[in-house]
């Protein structure tokens, strides 16, 4: 079976309004972050991926199955919508149980899977209460439970961390990471990029309905050649290191870390930079404790390629 989510030249128009235009990509298993400003077409992309809307043109295939084969398609996809919306009057357990029944599970399986999903999001104790009485975080969790309860192979999560407290966010991220490692496809749209970035393998950047970049985060960052890479070097003599680095012309910016025990260096030639850093370390003038990329993440890529105004640069 094909293990990729494939979009081929997909466009979606709502009347005369552009949703997404000529989008093509192929997503392997793992965690993919969908990044874009408000109105960029993220939700449209997710709706297309989950079969909730049909493309105006182009082909969509999720693990080799098109949305036309609705039964197989919907059973394979779990969707956690961004809207705080539920069928009225249901308890958390009823919501999951009925959702599983709608997926075609028999009574016993629906009971077992609903209990398992509640356990996974730690809502077992609140399962008998009406969702209307849940806190925002609990409602987010029950939505997540509904999305994973039927054991889908693809999980599409629209802003799944909204409304969660730090502890619940950490639990959710751990769950996403676990599912990603198990070989599931997770497509996550989130504004909390710092946290999602830690578990994400790939990034899809979209703005104005157009795909800006797609692929492994590190590879995408390296492709952004007009923005020199920034590296944080923790060391005992950051000023000395900065002056040494400035002696070569590929180093374009140096900024001391707030605690005075490191320096952010921006370089136009990352390979040459690391070679020089090796030399400095061997010379022994500066004791280097740690070296880490400072802008090799989805947040930085977002800022470089889309910018705070949401326009593609």
């Amino acid at each position: 079976m094909n293990d990729r989510i494939v979009f081929e030249n997909v466009s979606k128009f709502y009347g005369e309004v552009l949703g997404v235009n000529r989008v093509s990509f192929s997503i392997p298993p793992g965690i993919t972050t969908l990044v874009g400003p408000n109105g960029s077409g993220k939700t449209t992309l997710m709706n297309l991926m989950t079969g909730l809307v049909q493309p105006s043109s182009g082909q969509i295939s999720v693990l080799g199955i098109g949305p036309g084969d609705a039964d197989a398609f919907f059973r394979m996809v779990g969707y956690c919508a961004q809207f705080d919306s539920f069928p009225r009057g249901l308890t958390g357990y009823q919501f999951l149980f009925d959702s599983l029944m709608l997926h075609g599970m028999a009574d016993y399986d629906a009971f077992r899977l609903a209990s398992e999903a509640l356990e996974r999001v730690r809502l077992t104790e609140a399962a008998g209460r009406r969702i209307a009485a849940y806190s925002k975080g609990m409602r987010q969790k029950i939505r997540l439970a509904q999305a994973i309860a039927h054991h889908p192979r693809v999980l599409v999560l629209d802003e799944p961390l909204n409304g969660l407290d730090p502890m619940a966010r950490a639990e959710s991220l751990a769950l996403f990471e676990e599912l990603g490692r198990q070989g599931m496809h997770l497509i996550i749209s989130s504004h909390i990029l710092d946290e999602v970035d830690r578990i994400s393998d790939r990034v899809i950047l979209i703005t104005g309905g157009y795909l800006i970049a797609e692929g492994n985060i590190h590879q995408v960052r390296q492709e952004v050649r007009d923005k020199p890479m920034q590296v944080l070097v923790r060391c005992d003599k950051p000023e000395l290191l900065a002056s040494r680095m400035f002696s070569v012309n590929h180093c374009v910016e140096a900024r001391l870390h707030g605690d005075g025990k490191g320096v952010f260096l921006r370089t136009a030639d990352i390979d040459e930079f690391y070679r020089l850093l090796n030399d400095v370390a061997i010379e022994g003038l500066v004791k280097i404790e740690a070296v880490a990329p400072a802008d090799d993440n989805a947040n930085a890529i977002y800022n470089y390629l889309i910018g705070s105004d949401g326009g593609a640069s």
């Binding site: 989950t50 919907f74 029944m101 997926h103 075609g104 399986d109 899977l113």
Partner: protein, 293 residues
């Protein structure tokens, strides 16, 4: 980069057929409808004429009771096609307030709560969703129209002399066909208008308006232009004529003009109304929520 263990197992157990999944939506719908005390009240109110009519059947078939009840003639106690037309009309018009109360609960809440994307992200199509809601509404309305009228027929068959049943089977068929047409139309109207009005109370009002405003316009057209065709906008008039023909009751004729509409014209109008409802539902029942963000 993750290390993929590929030990995640998707659900591979047996799945139920599509009708069972639609059955879940029907259950949702009926539970939602019956969760209101007003719905229960309307159901009980619809029982009142049924009980009165049931007593009438008993009295009509009980010589002692007939003697006690009437000394001046027994014409009102006759159980014939006119009696069943009265029963069908009474019960069917009781179904209207019930429908206008229940229908918005079935769809308006889902729209107002943006629950459609969640429901439609399951292997249930838009058609399946609407069918589930339709069945829930149809069953609710059938329980105050078709069911009581058929119970009355069976009760009369039980009391009536041999031969009455076979001679009057056309009445039962008329009840089934006439009642089914009416509750199908009501269900379609209720679901269609509920899907366009997110405020439930307003939706109830709009449903009533959708039936009686065209009827008023039709009445004006009939009066001003002196034509019977204005009645094609008048649902109560159309249904009354249709029921009369289905149950074999002689039609009343207005003095001076033939106001009777051809059955084909009535059926075409009802079909057109249903198609408009389908178009309205098709336009509104969508999974997408276009939110720029």
């Amino acid at each position: 980069m993750s290390v993929y263990k590929h030990d995640y197992r998707a659900y591979s157990g047996r799945v139920t057929p599509i009708w069972a999944r639609i059955g879940v939506l029907v259950r949702y719908g009926l539970a939602e409808a019956l969760s209101s005390k007003i719905t229960i009240g309307l159901f009980l109110a619809a029982l009142i004429p049924f009980i009165v009519l049931l007593i009438q059947v008993y009295l009509a078939n009980n010589p002692a009771a007939r003697l006690l009840v009437s000394r001046n003639g027994l014409s009102w106690l006759e159980i014939n096609s006119e009696y069943f037309l009265r029963a069908l009309q009474l019960q069917c018009w009781f179904a209207l307030p019930l429908m206008s109360w229940v229908a918005p609960r079935l769809i308006t809440y889902d729209l107002a709560d943006s629950a459609l994307p969640i429901l439609l992200s399951h292997p249930v199509s838009r058609f399946g969703y609407v069918l589930g809601k339709f069945i829930a509404l149809f069953v609710s309305l059938a329980s105050v129209t078709l069911l009581p009228c058929l119970v009355l027929f069976v009760y009369q068959c039980y009391f009536a002399p041999p031969g009455w049943t076979s001679a009057n089977l056309s009445i039962a068929a008329g009840i089934v066909v006439g009642g089914t047409i009416w509750i199908t139309l009501l269900s379609m109207l209720g679901l269609a208008f509920s899907s366009w009005v997110k405020w439930r109370t307003l939706a109830t009002g709009v449903i009533f308006a959708a039936i009686f405003v065209p009827a008023g316009v039709g009445g004006i057209v009939t009066a001003v232009l002196r034509t019977k065709w204005g009645s094609l906008l008048n649902l109560p008039v159309m249904m009354t004529q249709l029921w009369q023909r289905l149950l074999g009751v002689p039609e009343m004729v207005r003095t001076g003009s033939d106001w009777s509409l051809p059955s084909t014209a009535i059926l075409i109008m009802l079909l057109a109304a249903c198609l408009v409802c389908v178009a309205m539902l098709n336009a509104r029942i969508r999974a997408r929520e276009v939110v720029r963000g």
